[in-house]
Subunit: 208 residues, 2 copies
Amino acid sequence: MSKEKHGLLIALSGPSGSGKGTIVKALLSQREDTVLSVSMTTRQPRPGEVDGVHYHFCTREQFEQTIAEDGFLEYAEYNGNYYGTPEAPIRRLLNEGKNVILEIEVQGAEKVMDHRSDLISVFITIPSVEELERRLRGRGTETDEVIRKRMETARYELTRAFRYDYIVLNDEVELATARINTIIDAESMRYSRMENTVLEVLEHVRTQ
Amino acid sequence: MSKEKHGLLIALSGPSGSGKGTIVKALLSQREDTVLSVSMTTRQPRPGEVDGVHYHFCTREQFEQTIAEDGFLEYAEYNGNYYGTPEAPIRRLLNEGKNVILEIEVQGAEKVMDHRSDLISVFITIPSVEELERRLRGRGTETDEVIRKRMETARYELTRAFRYDYIVLNDEVELATARINTIIDAESMRYSRMENTVLEVLEHVRTQ
């Protein structure tokens, strides 16, 4: 009897400006075996946001009920709204053999590491500080004070990179996406995920 | 200041008949950053064997001296001859940034695991027992008794697969070689090997 393959749980994190959102989009368009985890939030949907796609929108009561049931891999409150990563849908997707991506802030990723020892954590970094500043300045509408604060946060987040399994340099989106594909493919060859292949051969050797 | 990159130490192992020798040859022809560890032995060179290429040939006294100095990652005695994996040349190659491949029997690989926690261990397996038997029969000159013994050894070796980091299926040599390339590329993105990249960016953020 052959068990179904279990999917991989992968956190993609990194400083703001590291380009993780763009990489995730590219990755999902390339891999049919991989889906994005959808966060839960109590904030109001913005125009164009679809429930179940961009977020699972819920009430404060529903969110707090899920907290009480220990149903989040991580959650936080910003500006009076809750945001969280619910575990149940992730568990279901993994059981169906899908790889699940968490696109997640550095602090959130560390909380998930503490919950799930099977998490594959990837820290996306940028090639230079000039490049980071260029990206943080974005469309050029931010004040110097905002940029300074973002650089400070990025600096802090870079000091947390040591907690991650893998570091992926985002010098070009295509290259960075290929690197994450390589990590997923390698992790799929871990003994725990290939055990059935070995056991099936063994079974036949035994019964010869 | 940027430290030089350290190479990866990779054991490729698997049952006799798994095709590890062919895969190693293909891998080395594809990767300039990767070399094969040369074993030491006290047996006499066979015609065509070159000292330092196929083996480091040495005397019994030299071999036992190296044992006394704890200079082997693993060694064993077969038919009155010693065979061993000396650590010093491996350490030198890793420091030069080369990946070093140990093409090694299952029992030897397990001894190296106990010595080197940085070892990346890969178990090469075959898709089916029929394929294994076909390969073990080789050129068809072996007796049934020899085949039976080889199957028995292969069976034992397959039960040890759980000790390895990765399992690579050798259904086709090209595919199996690509899989090992994927593992090497992914392992090169481990935090420990990418630390300098992160620290360099951090250094510049600090001094802004």
